[in-house]
Symmetry: C2
Subunit: 321 residues, 2 copies
Amino acid sequence: MGEFELIRHYFAAAPCARPGESVALGIGDDCALLSLAAGEQLAVSTDTLVAGVHFPVVCDPFLLGQRALGVSASDLAAMGARPIGFTLALTLPDFTADWLKAFAEGLNRMAEDCGLRLIGGDTTRGPLSLTLTVFGAVPGGQALTRGGAQIGELLCVGGALGDAAGALPLVLGERSTEPAVSEPLLARYWSPQPQLALGMALRGKATAALDISDGLLADCGHIAKASGVRLLVERDCLPMSSALLDLLGDVAAQQAALSGGDDYVLAFTLPAPQLAGLQAAGWPITVIGQVTAGEGVALIDRDGQDITPAVRGYQHFRDSQ
Amino acid sequence: MGEFELIRHYFAAAPCARPGESVALGIGDDCALLSLAAGEQLAVSTDTLVAGVHFPVVCDPFLLGQRALGVSASDLAAMGARPIGFTLALTLPDFTADWLKAFAEGLNRMAEDCGLRLIGGDTTRGPLSLTLTVFGAVPGGQALTRGGAQIGELLCVGGALGDAAGALPLVLGERSTEPAVSEPLLARYWSPQPQLALGMALRGKATAALDISDGLLADCGHIAKASGVRLLVERDCLPMSSALLDLLGDVAAQQAALSGGDDYVLAFTLPAPQLAGLQAAGWPITVIGQVTAGEGVALIDRDGQDITPAVRGYQHFRDSQ
């Protein structure tokens, strides 16, 4: 068996959580075939992860498979899409069956969690990298884009910020700490939880949305630009985990929350009247600012003073856009 | 501008042949959005090309862009799909604006020829490789799979075989010859012409189809296996170009036609009554064999004698499945 057949074999051996009615034809022909319900649109996103750039060259293949798919699926969450499937293009310098088995198991764990099915792929020889293309469906006109934020609306996030950036020195082995602190942070890095259910719940409610991959301030800049508005981020409203605060202390934790990448929680804008209903339904939403006239992103203190720092990017693996 | 923005810039600067009504949202958000007509299915295929494996490390970026997209689009032709768009994941060790401009122009040339639109992508730093994911639409139930060949049908191809394999020593600089011979062969290698129109014309007529990427005999093996039949290939019926015959002579040209990869012409099966209509409509179809009971693929001479050789794969860049 070739590498892709091995992955397929190991992947197929695991139970498929939701067989995905939308997949009319899976692996094994020239193309896969997807069917949508009447009026649905297909959401598509492609991400590449390169060893030494986006993840350590030496890393656990289970964790790599799990993380890679989680990162990609997060783009579906950001559009409010119902997950369908994904293709995997894997380039490997060499491989062992054990490596592929563990990789496929990690991929499968995340695929089950997300309701995604492997529908095709390609395996090639070369320096280690992965390109995942994910597919989801969204009712026509209901996708959450970046361009609809309106002046007067609230800016919100779907979970704690900065954990993945805090985890990075632990991932790189540059630092170690007690398990009670390191474990939850490492879990955020290696097992990002794409907020697919939240994204679907925000359809028709949020006016703009994305997933935070490059850091809160940088990503809010994308919403501001696409929507033609200015976003104010309130420094003292940022949700942070106790593990991050324990590891870094208040000041560095705040910086991680503002500019650390790889958290993969949703940031979105919505009219204030929508907030109560979502919170009452149990969605973990924190208001962190507001939409105003102008352009760009500003950090403000509790008195509304502009304290935008020359925030520098946290050290992280991402160097691409 | 980052690399992907540069590609998008150069790509967008060229006229877009067919704006693609199916692309509801293109580059720039978390996902692209595609819309299908009622009853259509989406066809999806992913291919990776790695420098030094699938193409020479040093090569013309225009030709690389052109060839990469042609190779991928051929999978849409093989399904009978109407082309819609593609995503590009490009990994580069370094780049110059000139390189990216030429690459985007080559990509664009093929995109225009194929009616494909760039809908998204990712650019990362690392050893040179490309992953292209292509999207097309096909009326529900009319996709050309590999699995429908029936005993008694004809085996056909859509064009001359072996040219790309013949071109390989020229591509690698291991051999040179007069332009009248080298130019048409090099064009087949660097500018494969996916048979998209033929694929669409075969809907409802061909019973099984694929595009020849691994070599005729190997790819016929895929149809035989998926359809549960045996394919007989008539050695003396293989269509070959005069350039290939000039370069290699009859025996080596025949071997290139049988086992050389990268031709990207369609191979398909159909009931004999369908043939005349297609040929009358001007489609360049050559009957090369027939579908019989059994399994696998056999090469026969004009007397029907099995002369299946221990055909060895031609030297080529592909080493993946």
